[in-house]
């Protein structure tokens, strides 16, 4: 089976330790994570984990079964890139002098649609949101001008299909 990128979305209670529990599922199977991010979800008190892995269809299905088995997990899904809308966010810190000395750098910023977040006498910071290839290209383009720092977030994504988490929670409320 072919390895491809899967985005795993997990809706869960915000309990200390759940992060460990979920990462242990990957550790036990010796699977490396491409990225992992957590945030609030559209439902109050429900957290959302977005995990990106490169693996095959069989393994991702089994991993998601194991994640969903955890007591504090409400529901877990996995999707291919085609089934999701996803973005990453990157920050680039560059010497201020290069902004003025190297005219070319302004063209790079403009053509990449990056935005300038802050400027100080010593450095400036630009931000770019987009696909991995886009943030990666900008990193490569800026490197010759003295990239002081670079950081990229994990993938965040929403699915094209409906998730139905509120329905699950309502069913629980009504049967209780």
């Amino acid at each position: 089976m072919k390895n491809i990128t899967y985005t795993i979305s997990v809706y869960a209670e915000n309990n200390v330790g759940l992060l460990n529990r979920i990462s242990a599922i990957f550790l036990k199977r010796h699977i490396n994570l491409e990225s992992f991010s957590t945030s609030a979800s559209e439902i109050p008190d429900v957290f959302r984990f977005v995990i990106v892995v490169n693996t095959d269809a069989d393994r991702v299905r089994k991993i998601v079964q194991q994640i969903e088995k955890q007591v504090d997990v409400i529901k877990a899904f996995y999707h291919t890139d085609e089934e999701t809308i996803f973005q990453e966010n990157a920050l680039y810190k560059v010497k201020s002098s290069s902004l003025f000395e190297e005219r070319h750098i302004q063209n790079i910023i403009k053509s990449s649609h990056a935005t300038i977040v802050t400027v100080s006498p010593e450095f400036f910071v630009i931000e770019l949101t987009g696909f991995r290839e886009e943030t990666e290209q900008l990193r490569k383009d800026l490197t010759p001008y003295g990239l002081l720092q670079f950081v990229r977030s994990g993938r965040i994504s929403v699915t094209k299909a409906k998730m139905g988490i509120s329905e699950i929670l309502n069913t629980f409320k009504n049967t209780k």
Partner: protein
Amino acid sequence: MEIKTKKKSMTNHDNSIRISGAEAVIRCLLEEGADLVYGYPGGAIMPIYDELYKYQDKLHHVLTRHEQGAAHSAQGFARTSGKVGVAMATSGPGATNLVTGIADAQIDSTPMVCITGQVASHLLGSDAFQETDIIGISTPVTKWNYQVTKASEIPEIMAKAFYIARTGRPGPVLIDITKDAQFDSLDFSYKKCIGIRSYTPTAKLSNKSIEEALELINQAKKPFVVWGQGVILGNAENELKTFLEKSGIPAAWTILGLSALPTNHPMNRGMVGMHGNYAPNILTNECDLLIAIGMRFDDRVTGDLNTYAKQAKIIHLELDPAEVNKNVDVDVALISDCKISLQELNKKIKTKVYPNWIKRFDDLDKIEYDKVIKHDLHPKKEGLTMGESIEMINKYSKNDAIIVTDVGQHQMVACRYAKFSRTKSNVTSGGLGTMGFALPAAIGAKMGAPRREVVAVIGDGGYQMTIQELGTIFQQQIAVKIVVLNNDFLGMVRQWQQLFFDKRYASTEMVNPDFVTIAKGFRIKAKRVEKRDDLETAISEMINSKEPFFLEICVEKEDNVFPMIPSGASVSDIRLE
């Protein structure tokens, strides 16, 4: 409930009472019907032990000699009583010593609640004395765990712990309670947990899958059932029996499914797996329909997955959705409690017989009897065999003992030859294969079924891993019968060395102590048998004893357990010699 400490307690207007976190722990246990705990005290759990002292007429605490013993005892108790076992330990080493038992309970789906003390919350993360991150350590081997840092959390968390441990696929839960949370007070009132929104213990069975399963069963010419512990955990023994009797389908068990159906039931065709019976293993690869009930296709059952039952359609009755299509892809999955699934199947199943198919089992059984069983049970050689020892235990316990086994050759032989009339009678470490399990588990097994005869069958290796629990047995006067089948070897490893490592017996020969003297040192009645002529009298004396009794049986040193599916081979490549 009347309690000794009532005078101290103040009743609030909402019917709650003001008590300490430590007392709340005890009252939660009593609310959950847990009146027996196994444990070992220490600094960080002393407030709870202080309350145990006050409640000792309501809650019996068994002081084991090691925390691992407490965990295995709680497991043994859970396995024979069907209730949640409870183990307690202090922080740091106390907590880490529980971990083997917790891991064993996790893989064998045993309901257990472990309570550990923890350093005071202001010391967390400071590397304080006996501080260890037991939540981090136990996470991969618990069904759920939680660290309590406030007394007010205790009732809700304890209620959740018991609910999670016993519902759905049972498993171990660990609750770590900081010392300040034990000392602080709270307004106590108890509500049992009836549901958790993120947790579905039992899925709703789909009618469509029942119809599909019935269709496959109706078409089958050579159907075969393999059941596991799910039948016992789901209290589905009667449903299984009805299903087999009506459908006429021959059935075999995994090691943890043993005793769900009486040994002498005509549909019971023995054990599957690495040292299972010849017929059910071979015929796994001949059947046209495999019905797996409450089992998880462990590698010791399936051997090589690429050649496992490839010719058959497969129906899987399973509670845990994560087990479906995990190791073996199935045609129809009945995801629910197997008791419910079997009840639904039983409503519509047709009465049938499969005489030719059954004859295949009979024929292969005869081959196994001639090649293996005859020599195990009625040996012509001088040395005693493990098999004849088990057969003698069957005779004197009238096939009705609870047999607790450790891990290794003796375990395989006991599971092959022990005879059972009642369910919940086989207690062994299946998934984890924990040597040292049997002696402490037997303590719990006896306390979980006090009127039953409990015989622990242990090898000389595993016995010495938790031998200190003889102290617990004596102190509590638990009338377990302990049989050590002594071959002065780590027999199973030695067998593998003989077969697969050119007889290089690396570190498997044991120079053993005088086990009888040791047992006597613990003031337990003890005997040793070296000759066949003495076996019957000794076992008869042991079974008739009202007290704990230790019996060492010196067996042939270099016997092997057969049949055997070599590791990684196909079930149909099972070897008889």
